[in-house]
């Protein structure tokens, strides 16, 4: 038992006052009265026997002294600490992931509560026990190796801030265990709002291993109530002499609605049109159905407002059409009454810049139907079509996509996306042979993968084709999209990073295909899909999760990233220094490098958005973790002492003053 403020013990001298008053109290004076008949009619409690009155006085003195003792103990702040010979070191594993920014009922973030809890526990820890401070979010960081300097430890503790990054507890636990093993016996304080991973007893496994072995005691303190569990950390074996305690910082209630998925993609062949795919989830610990508003803003102007109702633990996916111009900033924001975690409430995305694609169509004999289809795409203004015979190959100008129609070059272009139609022979990874001038007609095709972007909005049900080539692609991951008989007649995929679409049929000879609207769509999809990754066509806005480590390379990339994020009703800018080309995206929002590279980073974590509360975890604990009671708890007992104090006041008031009139 330790006292944080022992100086307050001098207040115990106040006990002299009630004791003196008790022994030198004013005796009741004797008064003669004419008659007692009127006094006898007063309340019965006045007609107590003498011994009961003496007992009451004595009891009153004892209660007063108890109250004073409780007050003094509350002020000196009693904490229960382990004996010095119990452990040699403590590893503090502090969660600073996004969910720790959740604001609980008293206005404190979970990180602040965690810091307070750590301070209390440290105050009760003997000075000779070394302490190591590790913080973790997506990765673990040893902020302070084992030290006896409490002041420095507290100073470092104060500097810790929440990072909007999803946590990786398993990796952090591994780090903590490595450090905890250095000076055993030791204890790991997992200070977080996440339940500990299941802990493997490790005895049987480690018996032959030598390092572990024996019985491993694992304490998992569930909540501040101090319940202890024994279980199994997924994939993690606690070494002998290392125990784990969970300092729970969750609140009893928690409501959070946030984005768990977000993606923006341009609609193929439609200039200035995009689709935003979002997934909105509500945490499972919410008490009831949560109403939220999804506001879509483009360039600062409200575009849409949607009302959503989410059951606890449920999610909803939406596709939101966006029509905007390049460089405009798209911002989606969730407004939920009582939402306690703000970091997942909005996403931003700069609409990418784009230019018309340049497509080279090289064919010895132009198919009119293909020409019509390409012309139709060209009219949309998204395509510059260069048409030529095999003699123009190799091309003198840079193109985005090349179409080989009925012809293949001897030297395969490995740096260009390629669409091959009706391949006559072998070239590069493509091996093909013609099936004859007449081809093989098929009245229908089987669809290999209708979800592939090349078949986006393409109707495959009324397609009759004439197969002209049998092909095979060496290596790569081409996916058959259409199959006629046993052969693929339409495939799409990548070969050593090169996008390729192969069509083993002739549109001109196919009966229905060129006449349907599906063929221009198919061509357009194929061209767009092939050029999709071409940064020259569509600006590459990189989308990452916060906490990701990305490479930002370039000659003029600069030495810092400029972040923009919408906070508190306005855009705020931050700068992040870059040391080399590898950068950890430590915040959410949009970033931009000096050479114009852009990207966005969002939390988009189902685990972080599903912010837990105590009630939900207790249910989980009852079904999963075992629950043995802790015999000696750590922590500040001031709250309990104050409750005892209040209880004593109530008892005394009821015993002695319930009939008093003031």
């Amino acid at each position: 038992m330790q006292f944080i403020h022992p100086a307050f013990f001098y207040l115990a001298l106040l006990a002299i006052i009630p004791i003196v008053l008790y022994f030198f109290r004013r005796r009741s004076k004797t008064v003669a009265v004419s008659t007692l008949v009127f006094f006898k009619t007063l309340a019965r409690e006045h007609q107590e026997s003498a011994w009961l009155r003496r007992m009451k006085k004595l009891l009153s003195l004892l209660l007063t002294l108890l109250m004073l003792a409780a007050l003094v103990l509350a002020l000196v702040r009693v904490v229960f600490a382990p004996r010095v010979d119990d452990i040699n070191s403590v590893v503090i594993l502090l969660d600073r992931s996004a969910s720790m920014a959740a604001v609980d009922g008293d206005g404190k973030t979970r990180l602040q509560i965690a810091k307070d809890e750590i301070r209390v526990r440290l105050a009760g820890l003997p000075e000779v026990i070394g302490v190591c401070l590790i913080v973790f979010d997506g990765r673990a960081e040893v902020l302070l190796p084992r030290t006896l300097k409490r002041r420095e430890l507290l100073s470092r503790l104060d500097q810790i801030e929440v990072r909007p990054i999803a946590q990786n507890l398993a990796a952090a636990m591994e780090t903590a265990m490595v450090i905890a093993q250095l000076e055993k016996p030791s204890v790991i304080w997992q200070v977080s709002d996440s339940a500990p991973l299941r802990v493997d007893d490790g005895g049987e496994e480690e018996d032959g291993g030598g390092d572990g072995g024996g019985e491993v005691e694992v304490e998992v303190e569930v909540g501040k109530e101090g319940e202890v569990g024994r279980g199994e950390v997924d994939g993690v074996v606690l070494p002998e002499g290392v125990s784990l305690q969970w300092v729970d910082v969750r609140a009893a209630e928690m409501v959070n609605v946030g984005f768990t998925s977000f993606q923006v993609r341009p609609i193929p062949m439609q200039a200035g049109k995009f689709e935003a795919y979002v997934k909105v989830a509500c945490n499972a610990a919410a008490k009831s159905t949560v109403k939220t508003q999804l506001e879509v803003n483009l360039a600062g102007m409200p575009l849409q407002l949607r009302e959503l109702e989410l059951e606890p633990g449920a999610s909803v996916s939406l596709i939101i059409p966006i029509e905007g111009s390049e460089q405009q900033m798209l911002r989606l924001e969730l407004r939920t009454e009582g939402d306690q975690l703000a970091v997942d409430d909005q996403v931003v995305y700069p609409l990418p810049e784009s230019r018309a694609m340049v497509v080279a169509w090289i064919t010895p004999q132009a198919d009119p139907f293909t020409e019509i289809a390409l012309s139709a795409i060209q009219e949309e203004g998204q395509l510059d079509l260069w048409k030529g015979g095999p003699d123009v190959w190799p091309l003198s100008e840079q193109v985005d996509v090349v179409i080989f129609d009925g012809w293949l070059p001897e030297e395969w272009p490995e740096d260009l996306p390629v669409i091959v139609m009706n391949p006559p022979g072998d070239s590069g990874p493509l091996h093909a042979r013609s099936v004859g001038a007449a081809g093989i007609p098929y009245e229908s095709v089987r669809v290999g993968n209708q979800q592939h972007p090349v078949l986006f909005r393409v109707s495959s049900s009324r397609v009759a084709v004439t197969q002209t080539s049998i092909y095979e692609v060496e290596g790569g991951s081409l996916q058959p999209l259409w199959l006629a008989g046993n052969e693929a007649i339409l495939s799409a995929g990548e070969v050593r990073g090169q996008r390729m679409v192969v069509m083993g049929f002739s549109p001109g000879r196919s009966e229905y295909l060129p006449l349907t609207a599906s063929f221009p769509l198919l061509m357009g999809n194929a061209i767009f899909w092939c050029a999709e990754r071409s940064q020259a066509v569509v600006e590459r806005v990189r989308e990452n999760h916060s906490g990701d480590l990305i490479e930002i390379a370039g000659d003029e990339v600069g030495d810092e990233l400029l972040w923009s994020d919408w906070r508190d009703g306005q855009w705020r800018e931050y700068r992040q220094a870059m040391n080399g080309s590898l950068v950890e995206l430590g915040r959410t929002g949009m970033w931009r490098s000096a050479d114009g590279q852009r990207g966005v980073a969002h939390l988009l974590s189902g685990n972080e958005t599903d912010v837990a509360a105590v009630g939900a975890e207790q249910q989980r604990a009852s079904s999963g973790l075992a629950a043995d009671r802790v015999q000696g708890r750590w922590g500040d007992v001031g709250r309990w002492i104050l409750m005892v104090l209040v209880g004593l006041l109530v008892v005394e008031s009821w015993l002695f003053h319930r009939h008093a009139v003031y």
Partner: protein, 303 residues
């Protein structure tokens, strides 16, 4: 028991005598102003108060002939004088301990009241009997008549000792005043008995008494509103019973309500039986309260 007797000078000093005489004159004047009072009777008597003339008959006393009228009218007339009825004044004084302790004023007031009533009775040519009332009722003096006996009454009252308990029921039950003369009965007491209902139940015995009844309840203001607070050990001066209480303002308020109800019950009990009731506070002026007592229609005051 402490010496609770009062010196006769203290009880009936010259100043008090003067005030009482003045009071008597005021009452007499009031009586003269009124044509007829309860004290006068239709029969004639031998007082100095002229009443009427009547023709002389042979059975009349010739000494009553008005010779002046005979000289003027040559007829014999006799003068008729008022005949004043003689009452029997019974003054019953509570001599229990509660009348002298803890407030001596009650004892003084009771004795003064006894003296004053006796004085009025004697001056009015009535018979006056004195009684003490405690465990039982006792006649302190035989019926007295004539102003000369006032000193005897004073001396006797100054020697009356106060103490013991009050048994109102027994006293009122055993008290049997003479029925030979019209009686005026004054009961001077605090009416504190062994129970809170004892007094107003004991009053019913008084209905058998002849004459008019006056119940005078004496109390000290602190008996109605005790100046007590906190933890107090109370001692009943009559029974010596001890009781320890923790008194709060709420308790004192309830005490006053109980006391007021006690007095109201007695008053209601008296009035319902055609008896006069008067509460007598010892802190108020004696003369005012005495005048009020007599002006409530007492035959002693001449109606």
């Amino acid at each position: 028991m402490a010496d609770n007797k009062i010196k006769s000078e203290e009880l009936f000093d010259a100043e008090f005598l003067d005030r009482l005489r003045a009071l008597f004159l005021r009452l007499r004047k009031r009586k003269q102003l009124r044509k007829k009072g309860m004290q006068s009777s239709p029969s004639t008597g031998h007082t100095r108060e002229f009443k009427d003339f009547r023709h002389y008959t042979r059975d009349d006393d010739y000494r009553a002939i008005d010779w002046r009228l005979y000289a003027r009218l040559d007829k014999l007339f006799i003068r008729l004088y008022e005949e004043i009825q003689e009452y029997h004044i019974h003054v019953m004084i509570d001599t229990s301990a509660s009348m002298s302790e803890p407030f001596k004023d009650k004892q003084t007031a009771a004795l003064k009241l006894g003296v004053a009533l006796s004085y009025l009775g004697l001056v009015g040519h009535h018979r006056v009997s004195l009684y003490t009332m405690g465990e039982k009722v006792q006649q302190a003096l035989p019926p007295l008549k004539g102003q000369g006996n006032i000193q005897r009454i004073i001396e006797h009252l100054s020697k009356v000792s106060f103490g013991g308990v009050t048994n109102l029921d027994r006293c009122f039950h055993e008290f049997r005043p003479s029925r030979r003369r019209y009686g005026i009965i004054f009961v001077v007491s605090d009416f504190f008995g062994s129970g809170i209902n004892e007094a107003h139940e004991a009053v019913r015995h008084a209905t058998t008494w002849p004459g008019e009844m006056h119940f005078i309840q004496l109390y000290h203001p602190e008996e109605r509103s005790p100046k007590l607070d906190g933890e107090i050990e109370l001692v009943d001066v009559e029974t010596q019973e001890h009781r320890r209480l923790w008194l709060t303002k709420r308790d004192l308020k309830r005490y006053e309500e109980t006391f007021d109800k006690f007095t109201e019950d007695i008053e209601r009990s008296c009035l319902s039986r055609q008896m006069d009731y008067q509460s007598w506070r010892t802190d108020l002026a004696f003369e005012d309260q005495f005048l009020e007592l007599l002006s409530r229609g007492s035959a002693l005051a001449g109606g």
